[in-house]
Symmetry: C2
Subunit: 386 residues, 2 copies
């Protein structure tokens, strides 16, 4: 097990009706906040009104940054920073999914930064201070509600990068699984792929000594495999939505990665897809993951695939390679069963940009992953996914 510094300060109010904890707790942070949200679904489903009521009852005034994109853009961040400065706001309240929360985080840090917030996206060391961030989560996917990371795009440059810092970890998050009842089947499936991908990124490591963390990863994977089909079939199934929602946080808050020697591989590749084609992140992950697995499976890595096959999929017989391949097939079939596409072709992506995307993903640092990948490796994996 590797050394680690465990630091998960975010408090969570989890369950039905937990919005009641928003106003008074937010008021302790500031009575002037920036309310960040997306395309307006929270106005249709009543959540906006519930949040507004909480703010009013607590005597909190607010400005609004709305229309945050599914792959949040730096332009939205800049607008938010300007609002925080102009109105001297003291906290950022994100109401939405991971994109909205990610945007809120960089708004929170950008407000204290002298230069353009894109600098902080390119270099997380430039994040040193941030307004307190609070979130009300509406989508089980990114885990942004309980970590310090943010992924921001500049589509004018076909760039999408992750950044983050301890200071952008939300102070608290409200997680009411009922808010996800109205999430579409496609977004539910993509969110599940995102949760599983975070878990895979932590699980597929050469660190054999972090046994407990590996079992935690398997716990999350089993949870996704059990409940995503339930949520697709019965969108209002509380147990399914609650387990998926909590899994989303636990997949990336550190519980699964502390003590591991992780270096993410599939996310950097998918970020290139999103940066060039603005696709749904989880869809890209579902397509790329089984192909990445096939590519990195070899005699040195098979041990972890065997654990995956046995402990997650219950494959008990066969040679190690057979169990490993069986597990990859199961993974592919599972994503397909959720209605997710299996190839880049299905979502209109061809090989046009593979060369530059592979270069950028490799430059982003794939040298230290489960097995190191260079540009040519990445290009081959893109080609396998066609």
């Amino acid at each position: 097990m590797q050394n680690f510094h465990y630091n998960i300060p975010t408090q969570i109010y989890f369950g039905k009706g937990q919005i009641a904890n928003l106003g008074d707790n937010l008021k302790k942070l500031s009575d002037r906040v920036l309310l960040v949200y997306g395309g307006g679904s929270i106005k249709r489903n009543g959540l906006y009104d519930a949040v507004a009521q909480q703010l009013k009852n607590a005597g909190i005034s607010w400005e609004e940054l709305s229309g945050v994109e599914p792959n949040p853009r730096i332009e939205s961040v800049r607008r938010g920073v300007a609002l925080c400065r102009e109105h001297q706001l003291g906290a950022v309240l994100a109401v939405g999914g991971g994109s909205v929360i990610d945007c809120a985080k960089v708004v929170a840090s950008g407000t204290y930064y002298d230069g353009d917030p894109w600098d902080q996206v390119l270099d997380s060391d430039k994040i040193t201070k941030a307004l307190p961030v609070v979130s009300v989560l509406t989508l089980a996917a990114t885990g942004s509600e309980m970590d310090g990371f943010a992924v921001i795009s500049d589509l004018s440059k076909n760039e999408k990068w992750g950044t983050g810092n301890d200071v952008t970890k939300p102070v608290f998050s409200i997680m009411d699984p009922e808010y996800t009842y109205t999430v579409s089947a496609r977004q539910t499936a993509a969110g599940t792929a995102d949760i599983m991908s975070h878990t895979f990124e932590n699980y597929f490591t050469q660190e054999k000594g972090a046994y407990l963390q590996a079992r935690f990863c398997e716990s999350i994977l089993k949870t996704c495999i059990k409940y995503a089909p339930v949520a697709l079939h019965s969108p209002g199934d509380y147990e399914a939505r609650a387990n998926l929602m909590w899994a989303s946080s636990m997949a990336i808050n550190g519980i699964c990665s502390y003590g591991e020697n992780t270096a993410w591989a599939v996310h950097p590749m998918e970020h290139e897809l999103s940066a060039f084609y603005d696709i749904t992140h989880g869809v890209g992950l579902a397509i790329m993951t089984p192909n990445w697995m096939e590519y990195v499976l070899n005699e040195d890595t098979v041990w972890r695939f065997v654990e995956y096959g046995k402990n997650v999929w219950g494959i008990q017989s066969g040679t190690d390679m057979e169990i490993a391949r069986g597990a990859i097939t199961k993974t592919r079939e599972f994503f397909t069963s959720l209605g997710l596409p299996a190839t880049l072709g299905e979502i209109g992506i061809d090989s046009t940009h593979f060369d530059v995307m592979a270069q950028k993903a490799a430059d982003g640092g794939l040298k230290y992953g489960f097995i190191p990948l260079d540009k040519e490796d990445v290009k081959k994996i893109f080609e396998m996914a066609l």
Copy 2:
């Protein structure tokens, strides 16, 4: 899944050499601390010197409360409170196992309490403020390094009760698995029984909807089953010590209990054994747990025992009752294999006090457990354990 409020603020510095993080981080809390430790093993193994060096280098002065007992006594707490007040100390540093940390917590809260600290043991609501607590852990067992609980005894009254509050959660803990290399086989075994018992208390619940948490519990149990024998055989095996140590924290910090509807049963019974006979807590748990399992196994509870048998022990065939009974047998055999006694008789306990112990355990609140237990139930379980 039940609603919950997740709040685990404790930071952890985990791994080799993490003592280097003690001085500077403690200095942020206070430059005058109470150093709490036990019987002096930290003086023999060099840890005392390392801690003293950290304090000196950071310019921290300290007073000492030493000789804290394995079942920490209220008299030690009172001495600590007096020292904190007399010397106007600003933080409490516990160096030791759970007993030392538990003692430090009630010293920390008692310093701000007008009455006798035993009041705070009997009624956790009387804990409202505490000096910051920091710990350096030397034993994988109680999880006290990452939660707010403390168990304190008044042997003059044969009383041992748990208390706790968010304010007594350590600000940070240093967890270096190498410090546990010198832990005796018996204490290693007892500590493992303690970790497993915490996990069982969270796992054996009638809440069927907290699927992820149940899998996390199984992860911890599997970790104990894998690594306790390794640590007994090879006391200096880092991987085993690290996994056991991290399991100890995760078993009780909330990760396994949030969203469950837990009500502990075996701990309250064991506390009576310790209160009357001052035995090692984990030894009492190892004796009581399989008997409690046998007693509460029935048609309503068998589902969870089946999950336990299948997922933890890999028992795949048989009727539900057969799998459940097989899992209980495995549990009993496992504790025995660690060298732990299987009966109360082996540790010199007879039925003399069963009546009063059963009454006190029942009064402590066993009405809401996995299955509710009254005095007569508890007495029968004590008798089964003879």
